[in-house]
């Protein structure tokens, strides 16, 4: 059996008196898409931010490729090839696409200056692959459409050869066509052997894209099921009732 790319074991994190994540265990295999579902405040985003290094868990362990790993900052996560595409996109609106793509990992000249020409060239290359319509390389990303902004965020993950990709509502701000583009990309990346955590409220989309789904409620995992074993209604009732109908049966 293959080693999981990511294992999060018995993770807990409290904010003040609130247990945002309560003893959660979850794993992810290469070439797999695992969906996280649940109400707002169920703890999905918090759980994922622990993996991406934005928060630090109170207790629990993270194992990457079968090795116990400490992730205490976004930099640690990146060093372990974990890339995150946030709900809020995490782009600096006043900078252009290339500066955003390489933010925190700038290409430099031998003298240590930022090599803007090379960054722009690399950005053109990867954009030609991901989104051929992308032309506004010189403009601040605030001038881009939602889909174009999303492709900058995705390009960042792809360029730096992520092995684990975390997508927090990647299609929330997108139109129909752009949503399709992201869906195609997820399928493509999956084929290349990446592991993807996907957070979304759209159960139908999740049924199509994911291999497994985990439903969270009040900081705990209600259940993790393979999508072919459950119906959309099963999932909905897990989200709403906080009970796994299959476990009860």
């Amino acid at each position: 059996m293959t080693t999981p790319l990511v294992q999060m074991k018995n993770i807990s994190l409290s904010f003040g008196g609130v247990r945002a994540v309560d003893d959660v265990s979850i794993d992810l295999y290469p070439g797999e898409v695992v969906g996280l579902l649940g109400h707002n405040g169920a703890g999905k985003s918090t759980l994922i931010k622990i993996l991406s290094g934005a928060y630090k868990a109170d207790s629990g362990e993270i194992w990457i490729n079968g090795k116990k790993t400490e992730i205490t900052s976004p930099r640690d996560a990146r060093n372990n090839s974990i890339e995150t595409i946030y709900q809020t996109l995490a782009l600096a609106d006043n900078l252009d696409a290339a500066s955003n793509l390489f933010l925190g990992r700038e290409l430099t000249t031998p003298l240590g200056f930022v090599n803007d020409s090379r960054q722009e060239a690399e950005t053109r290359k990867i954009m030609a692959r991901l989104n051929p319509n992308f032309k506004k390389l010189k403009e601040p990303v605030s001038a881009l459409s939602g889909g174009q902004r999303q492709s900058v965020a995705i390009a960042r993950a792809v360029y730096f050869k992520a092995r684990v990709l975390i997508m927090d509502e990647p299609t929330a701000a997108l139109g129909v066509h752009e949503t399709k583009m992201v869906a195609d990309l997820i399928t493509e990346l999956k084929k290349q052997g990446l592991g993807i955590f996907l957070i979304s409220h759209d159960t139908r989309e999740m049924m199509e894209l994911c291999d497994r789904v985990s439903v969270m409620k009040n900081g705990q995992v209600v259940g993790t099921e393979r999508v072919e074993d459950v119906t959309e209604d099963d999932i909905l009732s897990m989200i709403i009732m906080g009970k796994n109908p299959k476990a009860a049966a």
Binding site: S52, A54, S73, P74, R75, R78, T84, Y86, T88, L89, A90, L91, A92, D93, N94, L95, S99, N100, L103, G104, R105, E106, T108, G112, F113, V114, D116, S117, R118, E120, A121, N133, K135, K136, P140, S142, A143, S145
Partner: protein, 432 residues
Amino acid sequence: MSDQTQSTPAPAAKRNLLKQLELDTRLLGMIGAFLVVCLVFNVWTDGRFLTPRNIFNLTIQTVSVAIMATGMVFVIVTRHIDLSVGALLATCTAVMGMMQTRWLPGVLGLEIGSPLIPWITIGLGLITGAVIGAAQGWLIGYRGIPAFIVTLGGLLVWRNVAWYLTDGQTIGPLDDTYILFGGITGTLGWGLSWIAGGIAALAAAAGIYSARRSRVAHDFPVKPLWAEAIVIALTIGAILGFVAVLNAYELPSRVVARDFAAYGCDTAENCNVAYGIPYSVLLLIAVAIVMTVIATRTRLGRYIFATGGNPDAASLSGINTRLLTVKIFAIVGVLCALGGVVASARLGYHTNDIGTLDELRVIAAAVIGGTALSGGLGTIYGAIFGALIMQSLQSGMAMVGVDAPYQNIVVGAVLVFAVWVDIEYRKRTGAK
């Protein structure tokens, strides 16, 4: 999509021309505003405003505030503010004044006039500025106290630390070499000014050319060759024109006549000696270049602007925004010390009220220069132009004989007006 708008036929050839030149319209606007101010005052003063002498004075009066304003750009870009720059300048000049007149001669036994004194003094002054700035930055970045509060406290603290250090006395006369940084007595002279101007012109042309080559090498679109040539010509013209004006201002004949041999003349008659570029202006140019390089070509600068644009994005990208805050305020501290060198050298003394209200001039200069208080936007050259416009207004009104209260009323109104114009400009051009 909206890309198609570019293919619409140009409504006016004029706009097309400007577009092909790819000049910074905001920079042009600022130059335009500056020229209008100059021309109005020139007419009002019957031609006394745009004389080499007044332009020379205007330049050296602007330097201190302009140096600090370049640092204020970084502070405001990261959504902070620094109200302590004037007070910090005073503490630095107090330390430097005491150092060269009392401490070094008294404690270390260096003789007054020793060539070591000015350099040790300036070095320690810069360290003082950096340490105080970094300390304020630490309180803001690591302890989470709003910059407004930390630097408001700093304003009171450092203004009065300066007072305490000097017992409120005027300290001086300052070292002869040190005073060269003030302006009048420290200039390059005719020949060296032209050489400096020539080097600057060549460097600017080479810079523009190599930027073009690098774009061509990567197959990026470039502007037409003739447009590039016009930009280079304008740049060279501006540099050499500036040098020519400063070289046209000559020492008063009485001063030359007193010691004509020292200026290389055989007789006092027909012995004309030009001031040329003041050292303080060279210092400002050096600061401007270094700060522009930091802002546009280094990771530090990239992180400053990224943090200003979206602090969360910056920290999620692994940028240590706390340490960044410390660095920014340390840079401002160093620039306050540099500004202090120029300000006290120009006066020849450290005075107890040196730098009073400079914080407001510096903030106004940065803001008039297009730095947005909402963060993420601002340029170094803009802040320097802002300082120049403010100083022109102030000294122009003084020449015309406007009463002091009216002067401040006008400057205040201009500050608000300039920011309003900038906001409108951004709306029109699409929130850039």
